[in-house]
Symmetry: D2
């Protein structure tokens, strides 16, 4: 059994990691940290976990990584940056769920996050943990930067289009819709029930910090620096992200061929499902699972492709993907602990 | 007091008309029709209306229009087409909430709706009832085609951009998000609570019937035939539409100037509110009102404009706009019966 | 036009008061206070109110009541207690939406609220503002204590049963279900969207502070001290309270007779609607209105009566009832500003 | 591997059975029936199941049970009654999720369901499938009647009180709150999204068909015929039932002792969790799991006990409990396939 720790176990990604790992056949959870709840038992904080986990929450100090095979960092952005290096000792490897190590270019990070990146050296060895693009590198990485929720949905939707000259690579627009859990567990006015219930709103248009993360990955695939327009929206639901991506076609292609091309592209991927021709994505059909569903349409009149993708933001968009990365890092079956069907209704 | 009838009073747009008109200072409701519930009282069908309306529902026959000043048709699409001419006698004028008379070009109608248009002659005199664009023509129209919900939100978002050469007019993409009430009241598998709750889905991408309606109106403003890519999405909420429209800028403009231009464009419009610089639209801030809020952003890096607009789909997107049209047709204060603030929370 | 002030205008009851009063024909709003947002305009805090209200928010000091006819106190519990006496000067009268003056017996207040009541003398002249029970006294009151949301729904459900010996008065159990807006606007972990969405929970069973308020009023009707068991529950919705009250019948009565008796009891009440025989209450049918709907059933097998009542907690349960009280105090039509139908869907 | 069939696989309980069984270590699914969708693959009907199940749906005929170890009947009420006997041949045993075999007394069934019971002989050998009460009998039963959702939550809440003389057994009132999935998947006006969203309503007070089922089981425990008052309510959420049960205490007992007594009563039960002293039940903490949480309170002033219980209506209230019954019938680990933590948020 591999030994696992979670730093920041009492946020939504932390508790979801715990829920998934509580059924994982190859791991045991040794350490859970929380500054807010230290001294309490995890199932006192989350009554859902009663009968499943009862560890006492401890403070995050440098001894936390000792004896661990994998430490998940589910810490607030900018906190993880300085904590990560402390634990990269002995055999302990890290999956970091924060944004701190996702951008390979420290200057880009500093531009979008408006804080200095203090670990430029370490950044060089980090692997961006999207298994569909970087599986090989993840296997041996010491520090894997787990992708953001929006980027996961957007990059998987766009990746196949980056490689074949189907579209004008400068024409990409991504319009994403997210459930509220993406904002985290910390109380704020804007995520109070009555403030978001029964309403949909746009925010952060053209300025959201997940933009450069999407651009980094699709640029890597395209072989040149790309830019996109990205607008996130907040939906009145707990889980799920639907991204609708638009691009101008530069070649003639039928919908059938496009669907078939996507199926080939993701052949063998355990967690990507290409929907049958004519079907579009629905977050209800992936909720509670590690799947990313992709549905395609072509606007023949206007020669545009429309790619819709759906994920559960807390699973494929965070904790499930983190476990997928862990499985790859440890040489386990990539589906271990993640082989469950979406829940519907 | 003007005399009013509603044909199809027991759908969502019908009952919303009734609710609004029950407080209108200048009208009295004479006739309500329903094939499903005829013989029942309206407040038996909608307990909300107890103490406000108690008319008996009658069948729709040719005598229904007699003595009326305005007849609202809140009938299913394609039913209204053949019913409308029967009531255009005497002084009775019509506001039709169906899609049947919205497209001036009968061939376009037939192409998108896949049924013949049987009233091509009548179509010529119809006015598209978006007051912000066609107020003068509405005043004297006999038959006003009340706009669709998505088109109302999209056209108001795009109109100012059609006239000044700000954008490449062939680059427009509209990504809309609607509450479930837009699908009407008739039971169907797809709008059962558990099928749509906690999920967001794309549908009808590049094929939705509201597409040519948006194109007709923005083409009229631009002075040439335009086409857009339009993707609607279903949200887990009852009311509200948020549209996010994207276009490629062809001139340099600051956000401040753009906001100022939109404010000028809609100067004096009682039901359009341009949000302060930097704010984006939120359906919660218009819910329960006849307002359309418009919020703007510029993606400087990619030279694109992002226009977000929010309406209550049952009010500005249907019944409120129908009353606004009625007010204009009857020479009343355009805000009569509609001068209420959105409800929040 | 009467001159009105609202102390604490930026909570949910404050903004709902503003929304209602913005259409009231006989009042003008002179003063709005907020400690959190002072210096801002009200429509900057609540974009819903743009075009309806643009007053600058000021701090609550002793000059606030000057020149006012009615000051609404929408302040946190225990804050209102010491503020109220400062404004009972000149012609200014008060409707207090807090709990501070609702219990006539200061000792009972101190027992349930665990703070001393500092205004025992003033308490003697306060009128409990449930118009259906205390209309005459409200007319001339200087300080009206606006009822709590749960008590409004429970007392109106139970009142007719207190007077005719129908039930064992010691057998009453009230099980109430409330939307989240009842918890107020202040951010807290427990009212974050993801914490309450898609779940129902019981809380405060047998200990909730609204218990003695219900007991005080039904005891007054029964002519002796009564006690009830009261359990509130939190529902995943913004507005609405449904109360289900149970009592053991001590006389034989048919459902038809009971419904008829309730209709007689509330004859002429503008905001109480007794549902037809066999129908039970539904918050959807009162949402957005000042109505209280009451639906009855008899459990013949067990000789129990079941009374269900529904209100919009922010209107009849708070701000609408406060306006109703204001109307009575000022000698206006009791329905002024409140004569709107519920919104459905 | 045991061989399993599901008759009626395309309702909500059917698809939830499939989801659970798709991860069960000891079974393989041989047959799925659906009259509505026969000829289609199950993952065409439920896109959630893609990659997990792809069986073709067949019609329910008498050959369906052949070679099966367990056949689940997830058929509409009254349909299961006549179908069940057809499959009790060979080694095939049945778990029936309908109400048809839950009431041991055929006359009681006929009184509450208003249809004749055509299988009175078979009824005598049926076991009511609540493992916490009837585990031994379930082991060898040929036909297990899987309990209703409300009864599961109510009986587990009340059972410990039936045996020790704590309460007046004729004083029991159960007030239950259910998510919409309990109404099944078939489209109806009353379960359309916009009809139930943002509202709570009472229905079937004192008349709901689950009443005699609760009474049968608690009467069995008490050793004499008991009656209760039962009122169900519909909540705006997909999954979950919270029941609040009230009874008059006849002995003095502290809350601590009561909690301790409940813990002892359910000692060793894998799917009942007694909440710590002072905590009440919340459906969010059991959602997605087979747990029933029970939280207690005592109303000292009125000498009443308040028992709150929470289940996921589709799991412990239907399909999860059916799998639990199957495990017991087949001599498997009772937790097999059900050992997953609730999902939160």
């Amino acid at each position: 059994m591999y030994k696992i720790g979670i730093a920041g176990a009492t946020g939504y990604t932390g508790v979801e990691l715990l829920r998934i790992l509580s059924r994982h056949p190859n791991v045991e959870i040794k350490t859970l940290t929380s500054e807010t709840y230290k001294g309490k038992r995890i199932d006192e904080v989350f009554p859902t976990l009663r009968n499943f986990a009862s560890q006492e929450l401890v403070s995050l100090d440098s001894s936390v990584g000792e004896g661990l095979d994998i430490l998940f960092l589910a810490l607030p952005h900018t906190t993880a940056m300085d904590e990560a290096p402390k634990f990269l000792k002995g055999d302990c490897r890290i999956v970091d769920l924060s944004a701190d190590y996702r951008l390979r270019n420290a200057s880009t990070f500093e531009e979008w996050y408006a804080v200095p990146h203090t670990q430029r050296e370490l950044l060089k060895s980090v692997v961006y943990g999207l298994p569909e693009l970087h599986r090989e590198a993840i296997k041996s990485a010491s520090l894997v930067a787990n992708p953001g929720c929006y980027p996961t949905s957007a990059i998987l939707a766009l990746a196949p289009l980056m490689e074949e000259g189907w579209i004008d690579l400068d024409s990409v627009i991504v319009d994403s819709k997210s459930g509220v859990s993406g904002a985290g567990r910390k109380p704020s006015q804007g995520t109070q029930y009555c403030e978001v219930n029964e309403g949909v709103s746009a925010y952060g248009a053209a300025r959201h910090r997940h933009t450069p993360e999407i651009e980094q990955e699709i640029s890597g695939l395209a072989g040149r620096k790309l830019q996109i327009t990205f607008t996130p929206h907040l939906m009145p639901m707990t889980r799920g992200i639907l991204s609708s991506a638009y691009g101008r076609l530069t070649k003639e292609i039928t919908l059938e061929k496009l669907v078939s091309y996507y199926k080939d592209y993701y052949e063998g991927e355990p967690f990507v499902r290409i929907l049958p021709t004519g079907q579009l994505a629905n977050t209800s059909y992936v909720s509670g699972s590690n799947f990313c569903d992709i549905g395609l349409q072509i606007d023949l009149r206007n020669k545009r492709v429309i790619v819709t993708s759906a994920i559960d933001n807390l699973i494929k968009g965070a904790s499930g993907q983190a476990v997928q990365n862990m499985n790859i890092m440890l040489g386990l079956d990539e589906k271990a602990g993640l082989d469950f069907a979406p829940s519907f209704p």
